[in-house]
């Protein structure tokens, strides 16, 4: 889909990183940003997402290379360990800077 807004201040919104822009995925990355690693239950509890929802978004983030997912046994219980990658961390910070620019543009327009 190509979008070419007449309002140039809206252009950054067109270029926004859509993988991260989804609120659930943003919450997952924001949570993992603050830990070395965490298991599925921890992320589920921190984000408040349902199990299926979290699993689905986790797959998309893994496909994009923003998180690493390891499955292993800890004390004979299967655990899914999640960790944000360097690409994921850069993409998250870049997205937030991008959003900040959008907000500044919109506020700038409103004050004109």
């Amino acid at each position: 889909m190509s979008v070419d807004p007449a309002n140039e201040d809206l252009q950054p919104l067109v270029e926004i990183e859509k993988i991260i822009h989804e609120p659930a995925r943003l919450m997952i990355l924001a949570t993992l940003h603050h830990v070395e690693s965490a298991d599925f239950l921890f992320v589920e509890r921190q984000t408040g997402l349902t199990r299926g929802n979290l699993s689905s978004h986790m797959s998309k983030l893994e496909e994009a290379g923003y998180i690493e997912v390891q499955k292993k046994f800890v004390d004979r219980i299967p655990r899914t360990i999640l960790k944000i990658t360097d690409d994921g961390r850069s993409a998250l910070l870049s997205y937030l800077d991008h959003m900040e620019q959008v907000i500044r543009n919109v506020k700038g327009r409103r004050n004109d």
Partner: protein, 205 residues
């Protein structure tokens, strides 16, 4: 959102606060530090910190053991990130500077040979109190847990009232208070966070 807001700081700070709080929400750190304070009073009697040195690895082991059995099944497993921000680094440097200063004061008061035994105890007590106040305030700030400021203030108030020169009157009751506070927090934590059933505990992914 104010015009001076930083989107990155607002979003990540809020999430970071909640994530970091998991380190202290189970009360185990408080229990271990309260016990360390109690042990410190005995250290002052024997004029050695051997009990605290022995307690550190025991406390680390106990925290991890208890978390594996009681905490992680409730909250999930996480490994804290040790990348700390600029403010925390500055705070750390200040604490380190105070630490060096109090060691120097202790040596000046007590002497290398420990000849002035009253000065030695006074110096150690001062060092202990300053460390404890700064440590608790740092934890309260870093992990955003206001009750740790209360612990730090209580230690400071006790010092100011002049009872600090007789360490047992200060350190033991404070250690007991902090330990009991930690036990209360731990029990509340267990009640608020039920263990997942075996069917629920299989994570999906």
């Amino acid at each position: 959102m104010s015009t001076n807001s930083n989107f990155r700081e607002i979003d990540l700070q809020a999430v970071g606060k909640q994530v970091n709080r998991t380190v202290v929400e189970d009360g185990l750190l408080e229990i271990m530090f309260g016990i360390a304070l109690i042990l410190s009073s005995f250290n002052l009697m024997i004029r050695s910190f051997i009990l605290n040195y022995l307690w550190i690895p025991v406390a680390i082991f106990l925290i991890e053991f208890i978390r594996k059995r009681f905490v992680y099944p409730r909250t999930g497993y996480w490994q804290i990130s040790f990348s700390i921000g600029r403010v925390a680094r500055i705070f750390g440097v200040i604490i380190l500077a105070i630490a060096v200063l109090t060691v120097i004061i202790t040596i000046v008061l007590g002497g290398f040979g420990g000849a002035d035994q009253g000065g030695w105890r006074r110096g150690l007590t001062i060092a202990l109190i300053i460390f404890s106040v700064l440590f608790f305030c740092f934890i309260a700030y870093w992990f955003h847990v206001p009750r740790w400021y209360v612990h730090g203030i209580l230690i400071g108030v006790a010092f100011i009232t002049g009872r600090a020169y007789d360490a047992h009157w200060v350190v033991i009751p404070l250690g007991v208070w902090i330990t009991l506070a930690g036990v209360y927090v731990f029990v509340s934590f267990l009640r608020r966070n039920p263990v997942q059933t075996p069917a629920e505990s299989k994570d999906v992914g």
